[in-house]
Symmetry: D2
């Protein structure tokens, strides 16, 4: 608990894939047991054949996977798993941890270690200025450039710089007080009460394609989704990183998810 470092301000949110299990073939294997019983095992061990007697690959079952997503048959998407290691501000974890089902977490603890002085600052291109007719339920924001078109770029830029200055001042003060509290030998779980939700924390996240798609549907904004979500910018950054990793590992499932309005089955 003695490590001290200079505050670090960053906009980066990192999502690393640690391990995974399954794939599109397991979706088919799981679904086919309904209609094929024991024969469904062949989709898992790679011995399945197409009707033409050729080696089966998940591409031969694009229609089935799409049907499962569309009809919201969700359970076949639970026989895969993936673990991420994520570095993100606490305000992102506050939202992410609300996903309870099909999600497992283990996070860095302010009770057990001194938290690193790494703090979140928004990137310049983050939409962040409230529009005139702003409503909480459908939050819409302008970037600096967009606001600049209205009130002048320099004024807009100044506001952004002021925001960053405000955050950094507050972050620094909080961390200084935190370290002062620790130095007086207070319970680390009390000393940290002044730390901001903008401080970073590391967390393991394990989920399955079904719970992952539910996460994506709520934490990404797609205008053409069947139920359009308006997530916080920063959790969407994490969700988009998750989405890309998912798309690589379960390409057919991912395509079906996108083509069916991004509704989780």
């Amino acid at each position: 608990m003695t490590k001290r470092t200079q505050p670090k301000f960053t906009s980066e949110i990192t999502v690393r894939k640690v391990q995974d299990m399954g794939g599109d073939h397991m979706v088919v294997a799981a679904a086919r047991v309904s209609t094929s019983g024991e024969e469904a095992y062949s989709y898992a061990d790679g011995t399945a054949l197409t009707k033409d007697g050729l080696p089966w690959t998940p591409k031969d079952s694009v229609g089935l996977i799409s049907y499962l997503v569309k009809q919201r048959h969700g359970t076949p998407f639970e026989h895969s798993a993936i673990t991420f290691f994520v570095h993100a501000p606490i305000f992102v974890w506050r939202e992410w941890h609300r996903h309870r089902i099909g999600f497992s977490y283990n996070e860095e603890s302010g009770r057990y270690k001194q938290l690193d002085p790494t703090f979140y600052i928004p990137p310049m291109d983050r939409p962040m200025f409230k529009v005139d007719d702003w409503k909480p339920g459908r939050p819409k924001f302008l970037t600096i450039n967009q606001l600049g078109d209205e009130i002048g770029w320099e004024t807009a830029q100044n506001r952004y710089e002021q925001l960053c200055a405000n955050l950094m001042l507050s972050y620094k003060t909080a961390y200084e007080m935190y370290e002062a509290n620790l130095a007086m030998d207070f319970d680390p779980g009390l000393a940290r009460d002044c730390l901001p939700v903008g401080i970073y924390s590391s967390c393991w996240v394990t989920c399955n394609p079904r719970s992952l798609m539910a996460f994506l549907s709520l934490r990404t904004h797609e205008p053409e989704a069947k139920a359009v979500s308006y997530p916080l910018y920063e959790i969407e950054v994490a969700a988009r990183a998750v989405e890309q990793i998912f798309a690589e590992g379960w390409p057919i499932t991912y395509k079906a998810f996108c083509e069916n309005g991004r509704v989780a089955p």
Copy 2:
């Protein structure tokens, strides 16, 4: 989003019971269906009789409930429910929300409203100074009086006052910056990044006796429990309030829980 008030510093964590359903009789009704089938309904509608032909009450089934807890037959404890309205600092929510199963939450949102400037300050009798042989896994702390016996009461008291001053300074700075950010029309979900985990938030919590006992077993410290937990002081304050409400509504279940080492069935 225009309301402004003076910062308020408090140690109070409030748990209000909003509604409940069921009771000890439903534990018996649920368990008895295994052995009695349709007749088990009589335990729910109040028509059950004892072997002696007298009106049955849950007190007649103390042994059964104790047996269920001891043998970890957990499902009969899921046919009741209770809702709380809780006012607690965000660092308490960070822990509470990790209870995923049998727990439902809806919490105040910094994206949708200006958070009130209510901040947590520890009470003087909180154990909070690390003991010399302190270990993270089994955290143990001294109160001001206990530390005072070692280093003098006034020195101990000064440290506490310094902690409070540190926290309050940091809290105030954070809230000032937060309001400044809001005044510049920034996304409230960004403006708040400097707010501390010591700020208060309101949250609905609905659970059932089974999930509630799991919460109690991990978030209260009882030296004689079968698996002794070392919870954060503040979540234990909330858990003890929950415990009292639970004890009043499910007295026989609660007694069985305590007598069987506080292991959730």
Copy 3:
């Protein structure tokens, strides 16, 4: 374990409401905490006022509840609960028990009691004859009358009677063998292996409006639903009874569910 009775053949599936908690007002209370913090408590304790200063009732929040369903904000629907006592054949339980989240069960056990000889026979008006172009994924069936239009009513009627005779013969044989096995002092959990999935069993079911709507969306057939389901007839009978009880207790939520394509939020 000595009770013996004559076999009973029935088509009845019963769903009794045992207890409930909450209502439409709790949906609003839960949702409003996001934007109102502590003031949301007033929706739960009945002190809330409308903008006009009149006593608030859930009818004043029809739009909000509809919005929550449409946008799939599901958590506000978890702060209510309801318990049913259901008498249904085992093949219904086989499907119902697959609903894992937000559902609690306690069922009669063949290991702990002699199961009653009550068996399921389909009612005459059940759609039950496969159509010519029948496909498993979209099962469609004709009633006796519909089939009778094609092949003659008497022939159709005869088939139905033959089905019932087949089922009853098999049921009787199974129960006789079951009783013979019990009479030889075999483990009841082994003696029952010949009992059919058409035998009845009693079960407690506790859920919340969110999990209940997920159940309804999958276990009822509505041609105009956004994702049309093709449930087994008998679980739909149970689901429709559940639906009616739900509609009475949460009328505004129920209406929103129906008007938004019966997609569970």
Copy 4:
């Protein structure tokens, strides 16, 4: 739906491991993030070192894993996963499917295919005769040999043969009626109502070490367990197969589970 085969009677219950992810190292990686933050990643990617600077292996963390199990810190055991393909009678699935949390299932469906005529017959060495002081809560049974010591081996053997004859007669009748119903073009989900719970079905099962240990603790009988369970013989057969596969993949976790009274963390 036209395949017909001769009835097959068997005692075999098969559990095949299909895939897995993680291992003991992920338990340590997950737990260490509390105290080490980002450095915990090294336990997952194989770069961790011991205090002596040697390559770390899970054996170096036996004490930590044991501590986690003992103190019931359960979440670190959720960052692994395993999928089984299981062939077992429906009465086994009736119990297994009651494990809701951390378990995913996809099972063969009598609505979508003709079920194979494979039926369960107990092996000769199954404890199956009720003892004189038999009680449902603590079921205890004698094998043929044990009963034979009391009433003569031949008499005991005859009883077993009679049981098997009863089951087989009932199974055959049920399957004949089932096929007759199918031949009349009835809904397969209705035609099957006479099929016994002793018929076999295939099912995918995906779980994680935490949910798997909860399953083992309830579905295996170990006299020295902290909470002794009295599972049905046949689900214990499946559970023991699961246990062996688990022991091979997570040897240190498994050892900790056994040494701490087989209480799932």
